[in-house]
Every structure is written in C-alpha cells, then in structure tokens.
Amino acid sequence: MLRYIIRRILGVPFLLFGVASVAFLLSQSTKGDPLSALVPERMMNNPEIVSAVKAQWGLDQPLPVRYVIYMKNLVQGDMGTSFNTRRPVARDIADRLPATLELVTAAMIIGTTFGMGIGLLSARFRYSLFDNAARGFALLGSSLPIFWSGLIMLYIFSVQLKWTPGTGRLDARSTPPEHITGFYSIDSLLAGDWALLGQTLSHLALPAFVLGWSVVGIVARLVRSSLLEALSQDYVRTARAKGAPERVVLINHALRNALIPVLTVLGFTFAYLITGAVLTEAIFSWPGIGSYAVAAARSLDYPAIGGVTIVGATAFLLANLATDIAYAWANPRIKVSG
C-alpha cells in the first residue's frame, strides 16, 4: 500500500499536467471571442487597438505556442490575468480559496459528524422510528437541490426567524481578522477576538449546514451499511463470545472496521461538496472560488476558468490522495503488503 501511495504521489504531477492541458484546451475552445471581453465596444473596429490588445494578451500567437507559454507560466504559478477582475488569476484564487476551504471544511465537519452519528445510531437501532426518521432527514439533504434548500434556509432562518445573519462571510462593517490562515474562524481565534469569532461562525453556520446536509445522507448511509456489515462479521461474534458488552462490540470492534470504507468516500464527499460549494457560494454571496468560477464561466473569462479548474482539480486530487493515505493508515491489512 505504501508502494501504491508513493506511486499515486508520483502520478499526481502527470495527472496535473493532463488536467492543466484539458483546462487550457477547454477554456481556449470557449465560444465567443476573448477580444470582446478585452477591447472596449467602441474600439472593436479599430485595428490598431485590436492588434495591440492581442499582443498584450498573447492572443496573436498560434494555439500551440500559447499552450507552451501557458504551461511554462503555470509552472511558475502564473495562471494569467483575469479578464473580469484584471488581476492575476493566481492572486484572485489565493484571495478566495480560503473562503471556500473554510466553508467546505465546516460543511465536511457537519456532514461527517451528523452522518456518522445518524449512521451509528440507526445501525444500532435498526428499523426503529429513529432509524427511519434520521435516514429520512439525511436523504432529504442529498435530494434537495442545494440552490433551493439554500434559499429556503435563508428565508426561514435569516429573514423570518432572524437567527442567522444574512449572506457573506462577515458583516460588511467588520474588518476581517489578520490574515494568517485565511480561515476567518481560525484567524479570529488566533487574534483572540471572540466577538469576531462569534460573528464568523454565525455567518458560516447556515451555508455550512446547507452544504453539509447534502452529504449527511451519503455518509450516514455508508456508515450504517458498513456498520451493519461489520456487525454481521465473525469477529463480532468472537467479541461477543469473549463476553464483551454491546458497547464494546459496537465501538471497539464494529465501528473501527466500519470506518475504513467510510474513509474511502470522504474523497468522493469532497467532490460532492465542491459541487455544492459552487452553488452555495452563489446563493450566500460567499466570496470563494465557487462564485468566482460561476462568474468566470458566465463571462467566459477563460484565464479564470482555467485557473479555477486547475486549482479545483488539484484540491480534488489531493483530497483523494489524502483519502488513500488515510485508508492505508487505518487498515492494517494493507499496511505491509505490496
């Protein structure tokens, strides 16, 4: 397994190369002339301006040359300049990525905690009222279109009940904490600013819950089924034959084994969350790369599209890699063997 992981790690650059190439080709093949995003409307018929802009943005080069330049720049961390924001894409992403990561992490925590709790309890009390209700709740989360559930939640909790603040990461009046990790929650904690921490968390709560809810079902379903599977295994019978009380059987024996397959879906869950984050950010005006991606896709800002795609794919790859490593770590059966 160690060998497998090393090979996976060695494979990452190749995958990234493929990802970057696909991202480049896709973004270059977008319909619509990139010039129209760059040249003012009234100057479109001015050949002097048009050629100047082409030269400035490298659009006068043939595609293969542009590809080589793009890849070269990419290696140096330069993803080009966004048509929309007129800033380096890398910088836009660096500014926005922490917001998305904070949201996704919070959602992941909510999703896995609820998912595991529900899965555990519904396996323990199988076919009970709790089991059915909890699974229903979990299933609802992954079946509701997030862009609708988000709106409903916002309406109920923010507009009607006023339990949570509105959209955004912070009240506009507040200044973000000093940038250390980019996670406002952690940064405000590090700064010891409790009020700001509270505000951060209250802003985070609703989008993270809406997003997290969408994976509760996946996690709960898997925990429940792998726990039930584990409970039917011989080693559980052995544990009972040793005189182990039910709690020990469930936690020490069944859960430890059941969590191994659960680990494998965390990577998948992450993909699910990224998808959800794109929509959640759009609804909650969350300044992350999801809303950035939507804006980029809408306006055919292809340096930005390429950049976001590469970063998203990298994050996704790393998440999968982490999952594999965690899986190997948790499962002694594959730790040693090749």
């Binding site: 060998r3 090393i6 090979r7 060695l10 090749g338």
Partner: protein, 348 residues
C-alpha cells in the same frame, strides 16, 4: 494399470513451470516479486488412467491444472496433448484442441454461468461440435442422464440445483465434447461427505465407459487415493514424490508424504488410538521466498546441511522421490515403522 510405459501418453507434461509477477516497482516497469507457483513439473497420463495430484493449499496444483488447459500460459515447459505440443498454440489454433481437453472446477456454483439455464450451459460447451439443433437437444438430454440427473434439470438455473447436482452438470459439460483428458480441480472438496461419494463413483464409472484420462487435483489424500491410478505429491510447486497409488500409500518414501499420510484422521477410533502420529512443525514457507535447496527442509525432521545446499532432483523411476534421504522403495517396514527418524506425536 501399468499402461503408462507401454502406450503413448495422451497427456504429457514436461518440465512445466509457472512464475507469476507480483506487484510492480514504483515506475510500474518491472514486477516487484516473482512467485514461483509451479516448478519443473513433469508427468504423463495414459488413456483411461487417473493421475492424482495432491498437496496442501498453495502448493501450485491448481495453477498446474490451469496451465495444462492453457487457461494460464506456462512460463516454461511443454504440454503435449496426444503428441501435439499445445504450449505455443494461439487462441484460434487452440480452439479445436479444446474438445480433447476439459476441466471441472472446485466451486460448482461459480463455475456455472448463473444467468443461463442448464440447457444453455451445456449447449455452450457443445458449440465446439457444431451440432444441429435436434442433435444438440438429444445430446444434452443424454448428458444429463449420463450424470444421473432427472431430465427436467435442463430448464433450471444453477441456483435452483443442489451443490452435488451442480457439480454433476460441471462434469456433464466436461464430458459433452468427448474429451481425451479432463482436469478435475478439487471436484468434490466443496461437497458434503454424503454427496462426495456419489460423485466419485460417477467419475469412476464415466471413466470406465468413456475411457477418459483424468488429472485429479485434490488436497484430500483419501479421495485422491480412491480415484487415482498414479499419484504425484506436490510441495511448494514441485512434485516431491510420484508413483502408483498403492506404492505411494503403502510405502511413502518422502518425509512429506509420510507426514501427510500420518496427518489424515481416520474414521476409526481404535486405529486412531493405536496410531503413531507425525506432526510437522511450522507452516508452509511463502512461495515468494522459498527455502534454498530442498523446499521441504524447513519442516523436515530429517533435514541435514546438504538439504539446504542442494535441491534434490526427482528420480526417474516408477516410484520416484525428490529427497536426499528418502526411505528406500518397496520396503514397507521402514516406511511405516521408523519412529526413530520421525518425530512422533503422543498417541491418544
């Protein structure tokens, strides 16, 4: 039954070896380890004869069986079917020859296509013969009665049959094309004792009627003895002892064969109580990292320095053994009652 030196063998396995690459290195260019599953195995089987291959799990006997059928390509050596070397034939060239060479598998459930009726399963096998529909139907009916099943199983699915019945279908499929040789890979080990006997009897009667040569692979010596004319005992990919069944059982020469025989529990309490028991120490070594010299030396009560240094070769005699210090052939007394050379377990 001493036909084997007189008539040309219908199956002649010569120096067959199979190496499996395991895993691969970091770049995926070379395998990380080589597993020597079968090493330099030779034996011959005459028409109508049963050659039993016996050994414990992991000794390579099933791999050997699959190599003979070219379900796996052997790494080295040759398999001659009625004089034709089939080791180097391609799939298309092999196809007509498959009619002569059939196999019965251990697990009667997984060896039958679960989505096909028995009729279709048998018809699949009969495709080689290219029969017309009517002949085919008649042949299927005949096969079913040959394996002593009621005619109505033809339209059932495998999961609707019992284990013994399924294995009979496996046998019917194998004999359907009138093969010269059938490899039986643990054909009864998944079945209960009461069912096993019926199948063993069936196999014997079919052999008598159809004059088929069997290569009978099993881990159960009693079963192998029951059906085999000659037997090869395998240990870690090699045949360590081979000979006529009676010779081998009455006068085992290799310490491993002796230990195997001694380990079989007898369904006879009085005999059991009297029995001197040889209990081997330790476990089977990993085939990935076999011991030097004689592969049995790590568990052998007779092992001496020579055994580690040099691999004993299999003798070229009727009752051959690959051991530096074998018991002599034909001296029953030494084989059965030399507790001094073996570690003896306490009798009950």
């Amino acid at each position: 039954m001493s036909l084997h030196n007189l008539t040309p063998p219908v199956l002649d396995v010569r120096n067959l070896s199979k190496v499996f690459p395991i895993g691969s290195n970091l770049l995926g260019t070379k395998p990380a380890q080589m597993l020597q599953a079968v090493s330099d195995v030779s034996f011959r089987v005459a028409q109508g004869e049963t050659f039993g291959l016996v050994g414990e799990s992991g000794c390579g006997k099933s791999t050997l069986g699959r190599c003979i059928l070219r379900l796996i390509d052997p790494t080295q050596g040759e398999v001659l079917l009625a004089g034709t070397d089939i080791t180097h034939l391609n799939a298309a060239e092999m196809r007509p020859l498959r009619q002569d060479l059939q196999i019965v598998f251990q697990d009667p459930m997984s060896s039958l296509h679960p989505g096909m009726t028995i009729r279709r399963i048998l018809a699949e096998g009969l495709r080689l013969l290219k029969l017309d529909a009517q002949t085919e139907a008649a042949r299927i009916a005949e096969l079913i009665s040959l394996v002593q099943l009621p005619a109505d199983v033809a339209d059932r699915y495998p999961h609707e049959l019992s284990g013994g019945q399924r294995q009979r279908i496996g046998i019917a499929r194998a004999i359907s094309v009138n093969p010269k040789v059938i490899v039986l890979d643990e054909p009864v080990s998944a079945l209960d004792v009461s069912i096993q006997a019926g199948l063993l009897n069936l196999l014997r009667s079919l052999q008598e009627r159809l004059n088929i040569a069997y290569v009978f692979i099993a881990h159960d010596l009693s079963v192998v003895r029951y059906v085999s004319d000659r037997i090869g005992v395998m240990y870690l990919g090699r045949i360590v002892e081979t000979g006529r069944a009676s010779d081998l059982f009455d006068n085992p020469r290799h310490p491993y064969t002796q230990a195997l025989l001694s380990a079989i529990p007898l369904a006879d309490p009085r005999a059991e109580r009297k029995r001197a028991r040889t209990v081997l120490e330790g476990d089977l070594p990993s085939p990935l990292n076999p011991p030097s010299g004689c592969s049995f030396r790590t568990r052998c009560p007779r092992a001496r320095p020579l055994c580690a240094a040099e691999r004993p070769l299999l003798e070229d005699t009727a009752h051959a053994v690959a051991c530096h210090f074998p018991d002599p052939a034909g001296t029953e007394a030494t084989a059965r009652a030399t507790p001094s050379t073996l570690q003896t377990g306490e009798g009950a």
